[in-house]
């Protein structure tokens, strides 16, 4: 196919037939062969495509030649898709959005979502509440909308950088496979990430069957392989734990960030928080002990947190296990700063909870910790109650699946002739010691399929653009095995993009199979073989009914695996020699915004403040204040947005990056985040941050001892959205220990004096007759995961401003999550507080606007009239919550066409010089109002869900009509924990908070059980929230380092 000439195209056109010649001219021009012809025959004219005048001239010429060709016959192209509906689908209302169930691959596992389609364009991601693993979304799912429309996505299939067609690719693969057939595929390797898709597995199996000597290698940079391998070694079964936190009273997490990392995180977060809601007079809640080597979101919710180095987690686990009487485990020496009293108290608490206790091991922890956690769960009787061990959902073909090291060895030995890298980027994200990039080039035929022409694509001859998950058919499994269907919402934006199924099909016996055919074919077979039933238990009448149901729901009922019973572990791995207390450790973790780098080119995620330090657009070298002091490294100066630059050296290799001194981080440990330092990621991510993979070794991919850290003497601009992390004894986040809450449930309401209406100039409270919208944010539920922030960005067309603007203090997010530290520097309590516009009833912003561009509406919303705004910024100055955002420059992208498609058409795109802020998603309220009016009823409770509320995995945000006494938000308003932020200013915020309550173990914190006498005073921040004022002051000095 590579020798196409004009006459061949003419011949092709001539041979086609059809009455719609002129309309199909474009279609003809867009056939892959023709495009390829244009690109290859007239490279000197390629520039004319971007020059409007030149393009017109060019098209005129080409049009003429096509017209001449077309004269010879009336052609009709086989048309698969027609855009305008002659007969629209039933129920389709133009302008109304539709929801389609699909699922997003997250490290291979399914994250169930509903995609919002507006006129055929996916514009928003919503959770799929019916899915067993659904109920909220991650920040990644929310940001995937922008990922779809990313103009930097790979747009053409290339061979050595030159554009080719998919048929060229298929032919080339067929050619390469001829040689492999002779040797049974001995030189053929497939490299993928974790795969859970049953269909893809069957395809890979089919390929491996054709080539019996071929091998399939799986590598996930931040995967769960370690968990499965460790448990397989000890229990003889490839299993992974699936948590049932709804049953857990006492939880010990051994470096496990179970609410924010790994499959099941959304369900885990919700079930964990469901046990802490304290509504309707409930006074019981679970208790979380967190032993962790970094500062995670889960750790911020802990009732007791123990920061230790990652290597020391083993010692803690062993000590607790020994105390719990796990057979074959002896307590070794305790790591530094860990007391036996702590171990005893935790063990006693776990023991008392029995089957209601749970021990979680972090996915990145050592094999010994995995086994110890499982053994402890067994000893506690927790298996089957708070945790189940499910067969690992990561697909593999027994005996044919290999590890990355093996592949690199084979490549080095010249054994690999044909390598397919399917949706992975090993050149960037593999540990440096493997030398993957060097060995890769010894492979004769290298094929890369991915969303981006990334670092790996650069070193492969063939690059096939992969279709985004919103563009393609597939299936995935959730952590418990439930199959989720991925369905396309839109045709691939770029013609040559193919799904992984189609890329792989080129190696099988039906190279032309489309993803849909393959998927449906697989399930048709499965339906024939299995007994599937609808959720209500009824059998399906036909495959068609089954299939429609599966696609509609987004998952297939009854596909969850059954938990397996574990016997006693064969052996608990022996205790390593106690690590030296003064050895400096390096830990590697996925970045909280860009994960392992696969989301790096997503500006929504880049600008997302990372949960603990609020840094955007960079990764940092995290260390504790004591470690920084010992190393002579100065803490970041946030008033100047400057951080010290340091070099981390591990085994002779080093990386250099800015240091972030993080309170609560374990001493003698340095955390590096993966995902940055990309060299070919796209316009957004290329060249920012440092690449932690450059010091990472395959033998110790997540933590290693023996690092050196040296300040380089330079400083670096770091864009953090929060400069000050000390609450300054202000009653901002109000918290109490459980005993205090029990004795004085309204503790939060006594921390400030709220003036009564009749005592103010305003006199009586204004009565809202119709709806009275209000929001409640449960501080006990928020774990600071950031999903709400991205959801808000996506829903409300919030622009990205870039690092420089963030470092000037001009980020545009309408909802932010404030982070405060309280207590001592080594291990402070961490508070999260999501903050949106409070929609004050006495809004300070409204009175001061000279042109009445921000006004109150009859339902109590503080409306922002963009068209009227002249931009005096007086409103923002006068807002005590500082939630207003100003378009200092032209932040909205008016030019990039692809990005226009990602926008929500219901929300104005703001221009320069205009103020903006949270609207309570007024477009959603109005949409519900129209529906309600059509049906002649009031808007029902729960019918309007704001974007942040909907995305929240822990259901921390509630929204509704305060005039409806039965609404959830009205009932929560009556909770004793309800308080208004800065209500003493008489702003009467419509958004109120439910104060946070922690549940410390009275044995470990006897002071928490102390209930202060309630004197009825309104001194600010009395009780637990204001405790340790001296310590908080210290936190400000070096922790936040703001002065």
């Amino acid at each position: 196919m590579s020798d196409i000439d004009l006459s061949a195209i003419r011949a092709r056109l001539a041979s086609a037939s059809g009455p719609t010649f002129w309309r199909s001219l474009d279609e003809v021009a867009e056939t892959p062969e023709f495009q390829q012809y244009l690109q290859r025959e007239f490279p000197e004219n390629a520039a004319e495509w971007s020059d409007p005048a030149g393009r017109r001239q060019f098209l005129k010429l080409m049009g003429a030649s096509l017209a001449l060709a077309g004269v010879t016959g009336c052609t009709r192209q086989p048309t698969e898709h027609i855009v305008p509906y002659v007969t629209p689908p039933e129920g389709y209302v133009p302008g109304k959005t539709q929801l389609f169930a699909t699922s997003m691959p997250r490290d291979g596992y399914a994250e169930p979502v509903l995609a919002v389609s507006h006129h055929g364009r996916p514009i928003k991601i919503e959770p799929n509440p019916e899915h067993p693993a659904g109920g909220g979304t991650s920040r990644y799912a929310q940001a995937s909308i922008l990922g779809l429309y990313d103009p930097d996505r790979s747009q053409s299939l290339t061979y050595r950088g030159e554009i080719r067609s998919f048929t060229d690719y298929q032919a080339a693969m067929a050619g390469a496979l001829v040689a492999q057939q002779a040797v049974g595929g001995a030189g053929f390797r497939i490299l993928t990430g974790t795969i859970t898709s049953p269909t893809l597995l069957s395809q890979i199996e089919a390929v491996l069957n054709i080539y019996p000597e071929a091998r399939w290698i799986q590598y996930e940079p931040v995967g769960r392989d370690g968990v499965v391998e460790a448990l397989a070694a000890a229990f003889g079964q490839r299993v992974e734990p699936v948590l049932s936190l709804e049953n857990a009273d006492v939880i010990l997490s051994l470096d496990g960030d179970f609410m924010d990392c790994g499959p099941g995180e959304i369900r885990n977060a919700r079930t964990f928080v469901d046990r802490r809601r304290l509504e309707n007079g409930a006074t019981t809640m679970n208790r979380l002990y967190m032993v962790e080597s970094r500062t995670s979101n889960t750790g911020t919710k802990a009732d007791h947190r123990l920061p230790v180095r990652a290597v020391d987690v083993d010692g803690v686990a062993r000590a607790v296990a020994a105390k719990l009487g796990v057979a074959g485990v002896a307590a070794g020496p305790l790591p530094p700063k860990v007391t036996q009293a702590w171990i005893d108290a935790v063990a006693a608490d776990l023991q008392a909870a029995g089957a209601k206790a749970l021990v979680v091991a972090g996915d990145q922890q050592s094999a010994a910790v995995q086994v110890l956690a499982a053994a402890m769960n067994q000893a506690l009787g927790a298996v089957g109650s708070t945790v189940n061990y499910f067969p690992s959902q990561a697909a593999r073909v027994e005996g044919r699946t290999g590890a990355l090291g093996e592949l690199v060895g084979d490549m080095a030995a010249g054994k690999v002739d044909l390598l397919l890298v399917l949706d992975a980027n090993p050149v960037y994200d593999t540990p440096v010691d493997l030398g993957f990039a060097d060995q890769l080039q010894k492979v004769a035929v290298r094929v890369h399929a991915g969303l981006y022409a990334d670092e790996t694509a650069e070193l492969c001859q063939w690059h096939v653009p992969l279709a985004h998950y919103l563009e393609s058919w597939s299936d995935l499994r959730a952590a418990d095995g439930t199959v989720s269907i991925t369905q396309p919402l839109i045709n691939p934006l770029y013609d040559t993009a193919r799904s992984a199924h189609e890329v792989l099909a080129a190696f099988g016996d039906n190279p032309a199979a489309t993803a849909f055919e393959t998927l449906k074919g697989y399930w048709e077979n499965a339906f024939g073989a299995g007994a599937f039933t609808a959720p209500d238990g009824a059998a399906f009448a036909s495959f068609d009914k089954f299939w429609r149901r599966a696609v509609h729901d987004g998952f297939i009922t009854g596909t969850a695996a059954a938990p397996v019973a574990l016997g006693a572990p064969a052996a608990v791995p022996a205790a390593p020699t106690a690590p030296a207390a003064d050895a400096l450790e390096v830990t590697f973790s996925a970045d909280a915004s860009v994960h392992d780098g696969r989301f790096a080119n997503n500006p929504w995620l880049q600008e997302l403040p990372k949960p603990l330090n609020k840094v955007t657009w960079d990764n940092v070298i995290i260390m504790s204040p004591r470690t920084a002091e010992a190393l002579g490294i100065a803490a970041q100066k946030m008033t100047k947005y400057q951080a010290t630059v340091a070099t981390v050296t591990l085994n002779g290799r080093s990386v250099t990056g800015p240091v972030w001194v993080q309170v609560g981080h374990p001493d003698q440990s340095v955390n590096l985040q993966l995902g940055y330092g990309r060299t070919r990621a796209g316009r957004v991510a290329t060249g920012i941050g440092y690449n932690a993979n450059l010091v990472r070794r395959s033998t110790a991919p997540f933590f290693a001892l023996g690092a050196q850290v040296q300040a380089t003497g330079d400083t670096y601009t770091i864009a953090s959205t929060q400069m000050h992390f000390n609450m300054e004894q202000r009653a901002v986040v109000r918290t109490a220990a459980l005993p205090v809450y029990k004795a004085e449930p309204t503790f939060a309401q006594h921390m400030t004096h709220v003036p009564k209406y009749e005592d103010t100039l305003h006199g009586n409270e204004w009565q809202y007759d119709g709806y009275k919208w209000g929001m409640i944010i449960d501080l006990n539920a928020c774990d600071g995961c950031n999903a709400c922030v991205v959801a808000c960005v996506s829903e409300n067309n919030i622009p990205v401003v870039g690092k420089q603007q963030v470092a000037t203090g001009r980020e545009m997010h309408w909802i932010r999550i404030d982070r405060y530290y309280e207590g001592d520097l080594d291990n402070p309590t961490v508070h999260d507080q999501p903050l949106t516009c409070m929609q004050c009833e006495n809004a300070p912003c409204e009175v001061v606007c000279p042109v009445a561009a921000t006004v109150h509406n009859q339902e109590g919303l503080n409306d922002m009239v963009y068209n009227r705004c002249v931009g005096t910024r007086y409103c923002a100055n006068n807002c005590p919550y500082k939630v207003r955002r100003f378009n200092f420059l032209l932040y909205a992208d008016w030019d990039t066409k692809a990005l226009k498609m990602a926008r929500n058409p219901e929300v104005t795109v703001r221009s320069r010089g205009v103020m903006e802020k949270c609207t309570y998603c007024v477009q959603r309220i109005n949409s519900a109002r129209i529906t309600a009016k059509v049906e002649d009823r009031r808007i029902r409770d729960g019918e309007v869900r704001t974007a942040c509320q909907s995305a929240c995995p822990t259901q921390a945000i509630h929204f509704g009509d305060l005039n409806d006494p039965e609404s959830r938000v009205a009932r929560l308003r009556k909770e004793p924990r309800n308080y208004g932020l800065l209500e003493d200013l008489n702003t009467r915020p419509r958004t109120t908070y439910l104060a946070a309550v922690r549940n410390p173990n009275p044995v470990l914190s006897p002071e928490a059980a102390h209930v202060p006498a309630h004197g009825g005073g309104h001194a600010p921040a009395t009780g637990a929230a204001g405790d340790g004022s001296g310590a908080s002051g210290k936190a400000a000095e070096s922790g936040a380092a703001t002065h």
Partner: protein
């Protein structure tokens, strides 16, 4: 003035002896009709060059947006508002001199009121640039803040202090210009009569509105200027009161203070007198006006500066006291943050410039020696700018929620716009001294014995 009654001619102390009508006219009008000193060209060139900086800055501002400045969230107002308040404040001395001192029959105002009023008009012109161009969409702000009938029945928000500002400042600008112009008419007639070139004669004649110096003219002139003085007098107090409402009406600690109106007015007069002295001292030296702007003038102005400076300093003390006495944690933090926070240097520089340095004016020696006095006035000019910086920036940058605290770093464009308005001011002022009598000829004449011949007859 205790010795007022002893004088034969009221205010004669404020004019060097030996002058008559002719010598006064010759001296003052001669500055315009005579050879322009070389220093004028130098000064004008500097002012005009700096004015170009303003034009470039505003052009770039319109092209890019207010993001070229160091503003952010939480500090939504920066140099623009600081400069606006500073320039408006400076203008106050002119109005005070021409209106209040006129009503109080203070004769020493006669030789300084013209230049001071000119300063007022030019300062208001400089000030007016900021509130318009600091908005995000100045092309709309320029008229949406005005109450004009429109088809949408939309009016400005009369509750907003910014609307009050629009009225206060526009009234002030109008009255100041009218007052200044009316006061110029008799001198324009003098210039018409003395000008040599026909163009100048026609122009002066046009603006002199046919003034012939008849008794009727003088009678009407006196009535008009008395009325305008009466109109201007409340403006001296109201304009800066309203400007202070921009801050006092808000809820931000450091802004929300009842002391602001009097404290701002005193600050404005203080700044204005310092600026009058800053302009008069070199002007007097360059043009040899020692006969008209005597040591007594300088002394009196320095005394006013000292008195208002003490009021302002009292204001600073009260701010600190209220911060502590309020028992309100936000107020307390605000004042400690001013004193110890990241902008403490600005605060203490302000206290030094406005609180400490002016104490030198207790000494008559300093008040009457121009160089030290000029130094003190420069310190006050800087101090008053710092005062506005401290009020605007340190209040905003750390308010209620510590999570939102931020910093404000002015950019090169902040500075260029500010310095550019100085260029505008200098350009206008240099043009003024070149084409208009910088001292009121006819009013200085009233200090000569000849002006009181009739009175002599009665005494005799």
């Amino acid at each position: 003035m205790l010795d007022h009654a002893k004088e034969e001619v009221p205010g004669a102390r404020y004019l060097a002896p030996g002058h008559n009508f002719g010598s006064i006219s010759d001296k003052i009008a001669g500055i315009i009709t005579g050879r322009t000193p070389f220093s004028w060209f130098i000064g004008f060139l500097i002012g005009f060059s700096v004015l170009q900086l303003l034009l470039v800055s505003i052009t770039y501002l319109l092209f890019k947006g207010t993001g070229i400045w160091g503003l952010n969230n939480p500090v939504g107002w920066g140099f623009a508002i600081i400069n606006f308040v500073w320039w408006i404040g400076i203008g106050h001395a002119g109005t005070l001199i021409s209106a209040i001192l006129m009503l109080f029959r203070q004769h020493w105002r006669t030789s300084i009121n013209r230049a001071a009023e000119a300063m007022t008009v030019f300062a208001v012109a400089c000030a007016a640039i900021f509130p318009i161009f600091h908005t995000g969409r100045p092309w709309l702000a320029a008229y949406w803040l005005l109450p004009y009938p429109n088809t949408m029945a939309l009016w400005p928000n009369f509750r907003s202090p910014l609307i009050w500002d629009v009225f206060a400042v526009s009234t002030y600008a109008t009255v100041s210009i009218v007052f200044w112009y009316v006061g110029l008419i008799p001198d324009l007639a003098t210039m018409r009569d003395r000008a040599k070139s026909p163009i100048a004669q026609r122009l002066y004649g046009l603006f002199a509105l046919g003034w012939r110096g008849s008794a009727l003219h003088w009678q009407r002139y006196e009535t008009a200027s008395l009325m305008l003085a009466g109109l201007s007098t409340p403006l001296v107090l109201s304009v800066h009161t309203v400007v202070s409402f921009d801050f006092a009406v808000s809820v931000i600690p450091g802004w929300h203070a009842t002391i602001f109106p009097p404290y701002f007015v005193a600050g404005a007069i203080y700044a204005g007198f310092a600026m009058v002295l800053t302009l008069m001292i070199p002007m007097r030296a360059i043009y040899g006006l020692h006969d008209f702007i005597t040591e007594r003038h300088i002394d009196n102005m320095a005394k006013v500066t000292l008195a208002t400076g003490l009021i302002v300093f009292y204001g600073y003390c009260m701010e600190a006291f209220f911060g502590w006495y309020s028992a309100n944690q936000f107020e307390q933090f605000m004042i400690t943050n001013r004193m110890n926070g990241p902008y403490a240097g600005y605060y203490w520089a302000l206290i030094f410039c406005n609180g400490v340095v002016p104490q030198l004016l207790w000494s008559k020696k300093i008040r009457t020696s121009v160089l030290p006095l000029f130094g003190v006035c420069m310190a006050v000019n800087v101090g008053m700018w710092l005062e506005r910086f401290v009020i605007v920036v340190t209040s905003l940058h750390r308010d209620y929620l510590p999570s939102s605290w931020g910093m404000y770093y002015p950019t090169v464009w902040d500075w260029s716009t500010f310095i550019g308005t100085m260029g505008l001011f200098l350009t206008l002022f240099y043009l003024f001294i070149r084409v208009l009598p910088m001292i009121s000829i006819f009013e200085v004449r009233t200090l000569t014995p000849a002006a009181h011949a009739k009175g002599d007859g009665h005494h005799g």
